[in-house]
């Protein structure tokens, strides 16, 4: 592999979306390609509990108990050995306004990137979304053809209900994922009262196959998403990569970490550390390089390559606010034997607010995970949980993120990444949201809400934002770095601001759009 036309760095969602556009034209994907060392061998979470497989659930080295003494040190989805490998990349600390480290994050070196652990909500940005945050040099119309093509490729489950306009058009929807009794009750009440409410509610829009699609089997809903990334029927970037490899239209080399690049007249010389050969340095030349390492890791690479220690770049995140919802009419109900975490989505339909509320069913978690948050003795909590869980949901609110001049990412002298995130305001519409749900017979209280720390949400973006006229460390609308002709950024780093909705499908569509720009650039 001495010379390639297109070198795509990273096998996550943006990398595979770009590579797909370039397949058959001399494209090579490189990544570190970490995979799970162990796998959760049960069809369902309940099977593992009934057998009492301590090692499968908590890990042979107690990995799942990483939050036992320090809550929220590990994201709840990344504790299990079958999932923790996803966050195997460069580590970073997030500090709040007091300078205290409130979160320790990591990029991904996994084959398929963070898509291995995502919730699979793949949503379009609309012009209303982009207008709500501003700063975008492209429109939704620029992305729509790529959205449509990706949705057809992936298979999206959902319903054309009241949330359809908010979630964005999708030409073909698979049947929505099944919902638990409490969510069904909430939706029924909403449908009876919707014209009197200040909230919109509907089925979640998910990259989960609820029926066979393009030769892929549907998801089993075994409630094991927190323990294994091998989830048949849930889309991850690995599926696209495997398809491309089977077709023979892309080249793929794993075990390689890009450590630098140098642009010459007709090519880019890329330095890679070969992990399979003891870290030996290799060089490859490419006509074009597309950086899709993930927002934090791409920013780190660019800063390192420019010798920019201490240089501060913008950093966007979506730290959500979480709150329990209790539906008393469903207390004592038997728990479903199968479910998917994300049940419904909602948005506040007042005053132009475009927050997104994802509604989760928490019953498939280990109940021990919930004990520390219940303000009563643990023994009582254990006796109450079976009675409450049938009528319990969790709301997670995502707000638009326009960025703050004080929230910054930078490289330290040791080469590690530091994020300073002093500006994290409490969610100001919480009382309005809770009032609307109260009208639907779902009760909560602001004191029960938890504000996730910055960095917890994984929706990182904005470090090298797209501009019509980019300045230093920004990118052109075709993804090129400000000072480059042949090096482009294709991941979340280029998104200038974040509407409330998940940016996963958008970073894929934008990566495909940028790849198209590469194809027609003429050099």
């Amino acid at each position: 592999m001495d010379f390639v036309n297109y070198l795509v760095v990273g096998s996550g969602p943006s990398g595979v979306a770009a590579a797909r556009k370039l397949q058959g034209k001399g494209v090579c994907i490189v990544d570190v390609g970490v995979q799970a060392e162990s796998d959760f061998s049960y069809d369902s979470f309940r099977d593992s509990l009934s057998v009492g497989d301590l090692s499968a659930l908590l890990g042979s080295r107690w990995e799942f108990l990483g939050n036992l003494v320090t809550p929220n040190r590990l994201h709840s989805k990344l504790r299990s050995p079958g999932v923790s490998y996803v966050a195997s990349g460069n580590r970073f600390n997030v500090r709040d306004s007091s300078g205290e480290v409130v979160n320790q994050g990591a990029g991904s070196h996994a084959l398929g990137g963070m898509s291995n652990a995502w919730g699979a909500q793949l949503l379009r940005y609309t012009d209303n979304d982009l207008a709500s945050v501003g700063g975008w040099p492209i429109t939704a119309a620029d992305l729509n053809p790529y959205y449509a093509e990706l949705e057809q490729h992936i298979g999206i489950a959902g319903k054309a209900d009241d949330m359809h306009g908010f979630l964005g058009e999708c030409e073909r929807l698979l049947p929505p994922v099944p919902i638990v009794s409490a969510a069904s009750e909430l939706l029924d009440r909403y449908n009876r009262k919707r014209h009197k409410l200040g909230v919109k509610l509907g089925r979640a829009r998910l990259a989960v196959l609820t029926e066979g699609y393009r030769g892929y089997e549907s998801h089993k809903f075994g409630e094991s998403e927190f323990f294994s990334t091998e989830q048949r029927g849930i889309y991850t970037a690995r599926r696209t990569l495997n398809e491309m490899l089977e077709s023979g239209l892309v080249n793929y080399k794993s075990g390689l970490e890009v450590v630098g690049y140098h642009e010459n007249e007709g090519f880019v010389e890329v330095s890679l550390r070969d992990r399979g050969r003891g870290g030996e340095l290799r060089t490859v030349r490419a006509r074009h390089v597309l950086l899709g390492c993930g927002t934090v890791q791409t920013a780190r690479l660019i800063l390192l390559n420019n010798g920019a220690v201490g240089r501060k770049l913008p950093f966007l995140d979506h730290p959500p606010t979480l709150f329990p919802l209790f539906i008393p009419s469903k207390f004592g109900m038997p728990l479903p034997s199968s479910s998917y975490p994300i049940q419904l989505t909602a948005t506040l339909d007042q005053g132009g607010a475009r927050d997104m509320i994802s509604i989760y069913y928490p019953g498939a978690l280990l109940w021990s995970d919930l004990l520390g948050d219940m303000p009563i003795p643990m023994g009582s909590a254990l006796r109450l949980l079976p009675k409450l869980l049938g009528g319990m949901l969790v709301g997670q609110v995502w707000e638009p993120s326009k960025g703050s001049p004080n929230n910054r990412i930078y490289l330290t002298k040791s080469g590690s990444i530091q994020v300073d995130y002093p500006d994290r305001e409490p969610y100001e519409r919480l009382k309005s949201v809770l009032r609307e749900f109260r009208l639907l017979g779902a009760y909560s209280h602001p004191r029960l809400a938890q504000i996730a720390p910055p960095g917890w949400g994984f929706h990182y973006a904005g470090c090298t934002p797209m501009r019509v006229h980019p300045r230093e460390f920004e990118t052109h609308t075709d993804g090129r770095l400000w000072n480059s002709k042949r090096v482009r950024v294709i991941d979340g780093s280029v998104l200038p601001t974040l509407p409330a909705k998940n940016h996963s499908l958008t970073l894929m569509a934008n990566a495909a759009r940028i790849a198209q720009e590469v194809l027609i650039c003429g050099y």
């Binding site: 009934s50 009492g52 497989d53 908590l58 038997p334 728990l335 280990l366 004990l371 009563i376 254990l382």
Partner: protein, 144 residues
């Protein structure tokens, strides 16, 4: 408050007494041998369980020695940031019990209960009573 790191080794007997007592507080009966072994193993292998403040560790020891209501006291010892050792130990016990498939408290295959609101109210009253007793014991014995 200064943090003092405990020695790397634990007294096996005291850990075993601790788990037997805490298990009785939480579940009302003694633990089986497997759970005791796993609890001890966790204390040897999870380094986080070795770095607690000595005054907090002493509080846990006192709770076990004086047969106080660990479960009623624990909510009053909760704090933001690093957890109190009592909270961590009770959570560990719960995780072990749940993942060993050992306790009827974690049975997910239950049928619908009658009079569920009354049962919930009853449990909340018991919780309130236990919290009250726990607060009294915390203050009475100066637990931190």
């Amino acid at each position: 408050m200064a943090m003092e790191v405990m020695g790397l080794g634990f007294d096996q007997d005291s850990i075993s007494r601790e788990v037997v007592y805490l298990h009785a507080c939480l579940f009302g009966l003694p633990p089986n041998e497997r759970l005791i072994l796993e609890y001890c193993r966790a204390h040897h292998e999870i380094s986080d369980l070795r770095g607690f403040d000595s005054a907090q560790v002493r509080s846990v020891e006192l709770i076990v020695e004086m047969s106080l209501d660990a479960v009623g006291i624990e909510p009053w010892l909760r704090r933001s940031g690093r957890r109190h050792p009592l909270t961590s130990k009770l959570l560990l016990l719960s995780y072990l019990k749940e993942c060993l498939g050992d306790g009827r408290e974690y049975d997910r295959n239950f049928t619908r209960e009658s009079f569920v609101y009354l049962r919930i109210a009853f449990q909340l009253i018991l919780a309130f009573a236990r919290l009250t007793r726990g607060l009294y014991q915390k203050k009475r014995y100066g637990l931190r």
